[in-house]
Symmetry: C2
Subunit: 144 residues, 2 copies
Amino acid sequence: MKKFSSRYSISVHILSLVALSPTSCTSDFIAESVNTNPVIIRRIIGMLKKAGLVHVRAGAGGTYLQKELDEITLLDVYRAVEVADHEHIFNCHDETNPRCPVGANIESVFRTKMLQAQSAMEHELDQVTLKQLVSELKEKTGSI
Amino acid sequence: MKKFSSRYSISVHILSLVALSPTSCTSDFIAESVNTNPVIIRRIIGMLKKAGLVHVRAGAGGTYLQKELDEITLLDVYRAVEVADHEHIFNCHDETNPRCPVGANIESVFRTKMLQAQSAMEHELDQVTLKQLVSELKEKTGSI
DNA sequence: TCTCGATGTAATCATTATAGTTACAACGGA
DNA sequence: TCCGTTGTAACTATAATGATTACATCGAGA
């Protein structure tokens, strides 16, 4: 399967950096930690900005949190860069043969089950705040 | 985001057909209900066969269940055609900057959280047997 | 044994998402 | 005004998906 893109993990990386770094977080600075191109970072930051998670100082440069760390969950980040609310991650083939009893009803039955599974996953993401995650990062590094 | 492929929903469709159809299920017959090319069906059936869910009468034609309907869960089908056991659906960027405290530790922390979310979803899939799903299909059609 | 329908699989093609890169206009603080 | 930074557009490469054609092989039944 094609996995979720690395946009998500990079987003968490960016937000952690912004939260922890005492210096100004420019896209160049972040790109160096992530080890990718600054444009990739700017594109992702654009999505985080749209979602109201960060704001950016145009011209001057630098990204800053728009909310408190404990007000941002992993679900918020996931919604910002991967899967919008009410978007289905399980694709279902459509235009099945309506004259076949299975073809006529498989979609609604399948979708219902998949929605339950997806919700269970997203509920888990909603349980973790960036504050918790950053605190685990700090533990691992022995404080920054 | 790139969703899970329709292989999964088609697989469930195929297995339901095989379970319910009184006549022999050839790839042509199934393809007509799914409304796609028979080769697509044969490829997916090949994966279901490898997973031990069905067997196929070579030469003569026709696909048959290898297990009882209540012995196959949606997780079994998912494992057969989408995500192998221990495979991560959340990608994580690697080769981060090891000299940055965030870059050095983000991967292990992120992966742990994602694994919990993925497990929650797969657990839900494990709760549904094909027997239940087929029974819901029957209800909708008013018996086949 | 021969025929004929079905399977298994390779090869090709179009489409789409991701990821990386270059280029450049516009912004705004020093 | 200058210069570093942001915001985007444009282009390229790669990979997964889905559809399709082609064909060797299998095996049940005539």
